[in-house]
């Protein structure tokens, strides 16, 4: 644990000194923060049409179930804020993908990997530290964004929406599904980073990991994907399980020898 902590500390200090690397995460977070408020408040106001007058939107918003206290417009706002919450939790991962894909190959290119591997650190510890080094700042930025997101909902949404947002479903999304998805995606990027021998290739492959997130986004807004709190709980647990499995697989795939002797 001490070794993981030491290496995470290094990753965070390194990022702090290279804040430009976090710019994509911040930009993606800002875009995902601005977008729901634009769609839910600004565009209807500019067009002079309320959300409730859109029959398709009214239809798909019914998947959230009846919230007795919410008016028709509030029901749609609640649906959209819930859907955007998932998007909001996932999109910062895309920004952090470059960080994760660069993690192992970057150490090799900076010639810092060999002294690191000469310490008692195990491969699993190294990989966990690397993934957490990318996940923690990403989640940190997400959390700040979330505070603004919920602040915005409390300030601008229809009466009862912010109260409806405080639910087991929201809590699961924030504490389990979001971090789980980040761990899985970034761990996968680290596997790539430890299997390719230059940073550009790692990033190219890393971009492919965004495709499932785009799929999720499309499914969400077509109204065909509405997951209950129970389903989210299982998905969250599943994601953590996949992460553990992925960590073990990546440890098995991590070839210290090849990295040291064949990568230039």
């Amino acid at each position: 644990m001490r070794r993981i902590r030491a290496l995470i500390g290094k990753e965070l200090v390194d990022l702090l000194r290279n804040r430009a690397a976090l710019v994509p995460v911040v930009v993606v977070t800002l875009v995902s923060l601005i977008m729901p408020f634009m769609i839910i408040f600004v565009i209807p106001r500019l067009s002079g049409q309320t959300l409730a007058r859109d029959p398709d939107l009214a239809r798909v918003s019914r998947v959230v179930g009846a919230h007795g206290s919410l008016a028709a417009d509030g029901q749609i706002q609640y649906f959209l804020f819930q859907q955007f919450l998932t998007l909001f939790l996932m999109t910062p991962i895309t920004g952090a993908m470059a960080l994760a894909s660069h993690s192992i190959v970057g150490e090799k290119q900076a010639r810092t990997l060999e002294p690191l591997l000469a310490t008692p650190i195990t491969t699993v510890e190294l990989l966990i530290a690397k993934v957490l080094g990318a996940v923690l700042p990403t989640l940190g930025i997400s959390l700040v964004g979330l505070a603004v997101y919920f602040g915005g909902i409390a300030a601008f949404a229809a009466p009862g929406v912010s109260r409806a947002m405080v639910s087991a479903r929201t809590l699961l999304l924030i504490t389990v599904v979001g971090p789980g998805a980040a761990l899985v995606a970034l761990q996968a990027a680290i596997v790539i980073s430890s299997r390719v021998n230059d940073a550009r290739t790692a990033q190219q492959f890393g971009v492919l990991l965004i495709i499932p997130l785009i799929g999720l986004l499309v499914a969400q807004f077509s109204g065909s994907l509405w997951l209950s709190a129970t389903a989210l709980g299982f998905i969250g647990l599943g994601l953590f399980g996949v992460w553990i499995l992925l960590t073990l697989v990546s440890a098995a795939l991590f070839q210290r020898e090849s990295i040291l002797t064949k990568w230039k």
Binding site: R2, R3, R5, A6, L7, G9, K10, V13, D14, R17, N18, A110, R111, T112, L113, E114, P115, L116, L117, A118, T119, P120, I121, T122, R256, E257, L260, T261
Partner: protein, 316 residues
Amino acid sequence: MISASHLTRRFDARVAVDDVSFEVAKSEIVAILGPNGAGKTTTLRMLAGLIEPSAGAVTIDGVQLTRATANSLRARIGFLTEAPGLWDRLTVRENLRVYAGLYGLAVPELAVNHALEQFELSDRDATAAAELSKGMRQKVALARTLMHDPPVLLLDEPTSGLDPEIRRSVRNLLEERRRAGCSILVSTHNLDEAERLADRVAVLDRRLLALDRPSNLRQRLTTGRLVVRVAGDPKTILPVVRRFDAEALVNDGLLILNFGDGHLERDTPSLVSALVGAGARVLEVRPEIPALEDVYLHLVADSSRQIVDGAKAERS
């Protein structure tokens, strides 16, 4: 104590290290010399548990290095890699602090402070590694290698790029570690350093060509030359030495007799008798001792010849 037994490492068809066996005792420094591509770094990496040997075994302080023991043994080893490998954006102190954590030191800050003081880096502790000179980077890397007080040190070119003053302080430090009971294996291209520092020198060119004390190694290679110093002008004794089967040369007030592959040992007593008989006042007579560099070049050239001959024999 480090023990390498029949270490062999192949990379596909290429043999990088071939059946190398040696030991480094406690309180001993062994220097590995060898040309580029001789397998020095590969040997060090195998000893550090970073790569596995294709055959043979490594034992550190009586424990065989295996996948199961590698992590715990690495805690007992200080491995200085060829490149300093510092994190550029981190300061000197931060670089050391991370490694103190990685080695699980009980009081990391105390160990870091000690290392900074020992290497006279305290005034640079807040400097980013990227801003350090090559020599300073190497010093920080050395501080990092020694910080956890390992009983086994594996150092790949520890004084490479250092100025003479820092080189000397590194040598002093290694001597200190030797006195403290460390087993130290140093790879170097610097023959002078090997001679000054090491108790024994290993000459490696994929195979272990020699392993001995520097003085013994020098004695292995006879130059066939005898150095004679007499009072007065050495040219006056030339008529006496011409009776012997040796080329004579006067250089810098010394008479140098080259017996070639002839009988230096057999003829030396008669030569001294003849000189004394002729009234020469003989001050010094000694066989010319080759420099370690001559021995090294001779061994490596011999090895290359054997490899070429072997390849020719294989082809035919």
